[in-house]
């Protein structure tokens, strides 16, 4: 049995092992060490939540604190990646993408195509996503569909410590720009993680549970909520299949369609806002390619079309929970009994 470590430790370990393996890998971002130029400790923070703690001393000169300057340092990471090194650049909160979107959207994502295949941009942007920390509207978004929409980017949303390590190693070795979305509520999640290096390939969804009645598709943290719902529903005689997309770009369409062909019912669970989202994208995919298999309308369980609220009373309503998922599943079951 592999030892258990947290999601956060899995990410730290992946970074350390890849930096040890490949001297061209380096880390940069705001306070990834913390304390640059200050009179006190270096590596004072190791990232705002301590995810990169300890790497500064292990890899001298390769853990670079940056000024608070998202256009500057994200752009620098993009430029460096085209020049033969492999930056792992931390965008502290995905919400800060508003500052540096051009460097991701118009530069990193488009170089290869617009330069006729001559450029490769092996860049990883690690970024914190998701609600639940009472961090309010500008520090809590998912924005997954924003990245997924952009050709040239790969988008990764690990839901467990095992996947976090394997997908991050794959992201670092990958020769395309990758947006690596870490859900802040998962950092403390414990799970079995091999000590060795390993990769989890992109575009391969994970079946967390086999079931015959309803397909639940999700990604990121809500995969775990979907599993809770599936367990609760099993006690009520409903057998759910649970699919974790792992990466939204590339998207494992085959696994989604294969499952819906079997169950005939689909509930998509997405922490992001509902319009033009992964939920609508997957619903459209299934409606188009597995229409004949559907026994009930597709249900989407998503956040509402609002910013993320601050007050816990509101944020708890905002984030989809197991009860909402269970209700959606019961709805599709009931519909086909009509």
């Amino acid at each position: 049995m592999a030892r258990k470590i947290s999601y956060q430790q899995a990410i730290n370990e992946a970074l350390a092992q890849e930096m040890r393996r490949d001297s061209s890998v380096f880390i940069m971002g705001e306070d990834v060490a913390g304390g640059a130029g200050a009179p006190g400790e270096n590596d004072a923070w190791g990232g705002v939540l301590g995810v990169t703690k300890g790497l500064y001393d292990q890899f001298p000169g390769r853990v670079l604190d940056t000024p608070l300057s998202e256009i500057g340092y994200v752009g620098a990471a993009v430029g460096a990646a085209t020049c033969g090194v492999r930056p792992v650049c931390e965008l502290m909160f995905v919400d800060f993408a508003g500052c540096c979107l051009d460097q991701i959207l118009n530069q990193a994502a488009k170089f290869r195509y617009m330069f006729g295949g001559k450029a490769s941009t092996p860049l990883v942007i690690r970024t914190m996503v998701g609600a639940g920390l009472r961090a309010a509207a500008q520090h809590s978004q998912m924005l997954t569909s924003l990245w997924t929409h952009i050709p040239g980017l790969k988008v990764v949303c690990p839901s467990s410590p095992y996947d976090a390590k394997g997908l991050l190693i794959q992201a670092i070795r990958d020769n395309d720009p990758v947006i690596f979305c870490e859900h802040k509520l998962l950092y403390s999640m414990q799970g079995e993680v091999p000590e060795e290096l390993y990769t989890v390939p992109f575009g391969e969804a994970n079946f967390l549970r086999d079931g015959k009645d309803v397909t639940l598709v999700s990604y990121g943290r809500l995969v775990n909520t979907a599993m809770d719902a599936a367990r609760n529903l099993a006690g009520r005689g409903v057998d759910c299949e649970v699919i974790d997309l792992r990466t939204t770009s590339p998207l494992d369409e085959d696994s989604i369609l294969e499952s819906v062909e079997k169950t005939g019912r689909l509930v998509v669970i997405d922490e992001a806002n509902p319009r033009c989202s992964m939920a609508t994208d997957i619903s459209a995919l299934v409606a188009q390619k597995a229409f004949g298999a559907l026994k009930a309308p597709i249900e989407m369980v998503t956040a509402p079309h609002t910013p993320v609220p601050f007050s816990d009373a509101l944020e708890d309503l905002y984030i989809p929970d197991a009860a909402k998922i269970e209700q959606a599943v019961l709805n599709v079951i009931e519909w086909s009994k009509r």
């Binding site: 049995m1 091999p194 060795e196 290096l197 390993y198 990769t199 390939p201 079946f207």
Partner: protein
């Protein structure tokens, strides 16, 4: 004198925390004998049968079909002799009020495999039981010590039993040097040295059989007996397309048709088994190790080592077990051997998992004689 036994959910392997009741194989009121299969249980890893640890009358079926129960949970009541319904009710009530799900499955409280560095590489092994001449379980190509999930505990009643991960496998180091039988056998011998074991019984499955044969060839004085299950090293034929397909498979859809060939019951190859195997195959160094072993031991889909002479020489008592329908190494390799040969009808390559109870009985009986 009468005794009321509680039949509980067994723990198979290290990671099992719960099992789902597939079917009762015995009715209430029926007599059962110790070792008999009373219930089919499915876990996230595999399905198997619960063997009765005692004889008596099955008086109560507590677990219902399709119910998922924690390890250690009450499945039924078996009574030796006489007991009133009220006495049985009292036992059930007491059990249920004391039972805490998770306790029996808690991996931190149970025995754990260990790791040791031998000749510069880490080898994982798992020890159960005490006393007697130790027995060592050697898994096959692409396997690990969990291949003995249903055997380890049963064989360890009254005996020290060690299962190891060969290099390139499980949680042992993945780097091989020559990737030949001598290297693998050297690891088995080094582990015996490390554990201060002078002489042992060896049980080898598939490639592990060839490794065991080779240990016996190199150090016959240290081997009390050999049990070879669907073993390599006894003939030239081997399923080359399986080996190639298994080594190359990079996702579950490619892996499934390969793993299915290992079992007589294809339904055993579930999502969890495929995921576990993929996790292993994706570890750094595993692909290289499997390629190297496959190229050295099974070049061009033919077994390169012929170790029949080790058996035929008669220095080491040998039990040969085969599934008649083994799709990886043909059961005909057991023909003409100077050994106790047991071919189990209808069984496949992973016969020690699929017919665990029979295999455990055969091994215990055989070893009891040597």
């Amino acid at each position: 004198m009468s005794q009321i036994h509680t039949l509980t959910m067994p723990k198979w392997g290290l990671s099992m925390t719960e099992g789902r009741v597939d079917a009762w194989l015995k009715e209430e009121g029926q007599a059962i004998t110790k070792g008999e299969e009373v219930m089919d249980v499915e876990t996230d890893k595999i399905s198997s049968s619960v063997e009765a640890p005692f004889s008596g009358i099955l008086r109560r079926q507590i677990a219902r079909q399709d119910e998922t129960l924690a390890v250690g949970a009450l499945l039924g009541i078996v009574v030796e002799g006489e007991a009133s319904e009220a006495e049985i009710d009292a036992v059930i009530e007491q059990f249920q009020s004391n039972f805490v799900p998770g306790d029996a499955a808690d991996e931190d409280s149970g025995p754990k495999p260990q790791k040791v560095e031998l000749d510069g590489r880490v080898i994982r092994y798992f020890e159960r039981g005490e006393g007697g001449t130790p027995l060592v379980l050697v898994h096959g190509f692409g396997g690990d010590l969990n291949n003995w999930l249903f055997n380890h505990e049963a064989l360890a009643a009254g005996r020290r039993v060690i299962a190891l991960d060969l290099p390139g496998h499980g949680e042992s180091s993945k780097t091989l040097q020559r990737g030949d039988l001598d290297e693998l056998s050297g690891v088995v011998l080094a582990l015996l040295d490390h554990l201060d074991i002078n002489a042992a019984h060896l049980v080898g499955h598939s490639m592990g059989g060839a490794v065991s044969l080779n240990v016996a060839r190199l150090m016959p004085q240290r081997i009390r007996s050999l049990t070879l299950i669907g073993s390599a090293g006894l003939g030239a034929e081997i399923n080359g397309s399986y080996l190639k397909g298994f080594v190359e498979a990079a996702n579950r859809n490619a892996l499934k048709p390969q793993l299915v060939q290992l079992f007589s019951n294809a339904e055993l190859v579930n999502r969890q088994m495929l995921d576990d195997m993929l996790k292993y195959k994706r570890l750094e160094g595993v692909d290289a190790a499997l390629q190297q072993l496959s190229a050295t031991l099974f070049a061009d889909g033919r077994q390169q080592a012929d170790l029949r002479e080790v058996v035929q020489a008669g220095h080491v008592p040998t039990l040969v077990i085969w599934g008649s329908d083994d799709a990886i190494i043909p059961a005909t390799h057991s023909d003409g051997l100077s050994a106790q040969v047991e071919v189990l009808p209808g069984q496949g390559h992973m016969v020690q998992m699929e017919a665990a109870e029979q295999i455990n009985r055969l091994i215990n009986e055989f070893i009891g004689q040597h």
